[in-house]
Symmetry: C2
Subunit: 248 residues, 2 copies
């Protein structure tokens, strides 16, 4: 039973947190914007960051088509971004874990392109964009880091496009699970055992599938010995064969 299993605690529980730490002692430092900045520049960056951002499940961070004021970096928890398709339905364009940037696609239009919502109790750092730009004029490395983050998201979106246009349901779910695994690894967590902070419905939506299909796939993957799911906790049992499923 999921409730008996000691599920690895992925993220800080914000209610137990101390005051948010400055960049130089943040565990996400190596994934984040300050990487490679000297002490002097880092201090200047530190001063413009708002670390007091805290959100509960279903709280909205920003709405699509509202003015772009800040970039956000997740510190703990999970967010999703959604875009309303014209027919009223919604598409989840991304899930965001600690160290990941939300809002990069708003820089061009100067309006947020999606609505960002917390999937659980979460915290983040807000980077006011005009101040970031001002700072960037003096700190080239900062601009480079932003461009690199944007480039990284661009590359991973291209992969998602391929997934959605070329692959069947098996491959989509397998790829999704392995992508989570890889992202957790970057953050020093287990690659094989983690908690799915999003409901099945959201996974289905993100992968362009029906909830029922996701449910059936979880059941079949488990039966085939690829994974072990119980509610929100999941263990990737057979990584090589899961990898094999990512094709077609």
């Amino acid at each position: 039973m999921a409730t008996n299993n000691p599920v690895i605690q992925l993220f800080d529980n914000p209610t137990q947190r101390k005051d948010p730490v400055a960049c130089d002692s943040c565990s996400l430092y190596s994934l984040c914007l300050p990487l490679g900045l000297n002490n002097h520049d880092l201090q200047k960056l530190d001063q413009i960051i708002d670390r007091e951002q805290r959100y509960q499940r279903n709280d909205r961070l920003f709405r699509a088509d509202t003015p772009f004021t800040a970039l956000f970096v997740v510190r703990s928890g999970t967010f999703k971004t959604t875009v309303a398709a014209s027919n009223g339905r919604e598409q989840i364009t991304g899930f965001y874990f600690p160290g990941e940037f939300i809002g990069l696609d708003a820089i061009y239009t100067e309006n947020y392109q999606s609505t960002a919502t917390a999937l659980e109790t979460s915290t983040l750092c807000a980077l006011p964009f005009t101040r970031l730009q001002t700072l960037g004029a003096d700190i080239p490395q900062l601009q480079i880091n932003m461009l690199r983050r944007s480039s990284k998201e661009l590359a991973s979106d291209k992969n998602l496009m391929i997934l959605l246009s070329k692959n069947n349901a098996d491959a989509r779910l397998a790829t999704f699970l392995l992508s989570l695994s890889a992202r957790f690894q970057e953050r020093g967590f287990s690659t094989t055992r983690f908690r799915l902070s999003m409901p099945r419905k959201d996974i289905a939506n993100h992968l362009g599938l029906a909830v029922e299909t996701i449910s059936r796939l979880f059941a079949r993957f488990q039966q085939q010995g690829l994974i072990d799911v119980a509610g929100k906790s999941i263990t990737l049992v057979d990584l090589p064969n899961l990898q094999a499923r990512c094709e077609h």
Copy 2:
């Protein structure tokens, strides 16, 4: 017959071109990197640009997984970028028209993430990236423009993701045609009458559909009075109803 119709000439014929013009007299200036730069900075940028890039149909600009050396801006013609899926199939991740940037997703990894191929005789400007970065340290506006271009592509990729994961074949093709129309409008060309520089096969691939489906859709859209196709030339006859097809 397509051959009798005077199809609007979208792009310069490179064989008739004069020497490539400098940025300040380039017709793509307002869409491109120099936008907002002062004369002095523009001159410095001008000096690092290689304008002698010319490619024939099927020529490769770069291959995936080779070192990232330069960003490219299309000056005339069309390019496509493809990624090889692990099972050997290819996915076309984008088409690129004059004024559009190729290679932005390579900045993070420092390797090209896709293979870029000319769809017809085409020319482009090459921007050596290390020199661009050096220049960027002195010209903040240049960095901002790059970030903005990257952000723009990010936003349009998110839209494509939605298209691929949520929409049926009708909506995919309608959206694709209207997206071409909008991009041609930005460049001062007709929004309703243009040439499809890519073969059906490539449209199908890009939209995650079979060639046969595209062919049937063109036939049906024409029968329904939405469009008028003859070979590579197409007229969008009923924009409002085409727009309506973009849903579902």
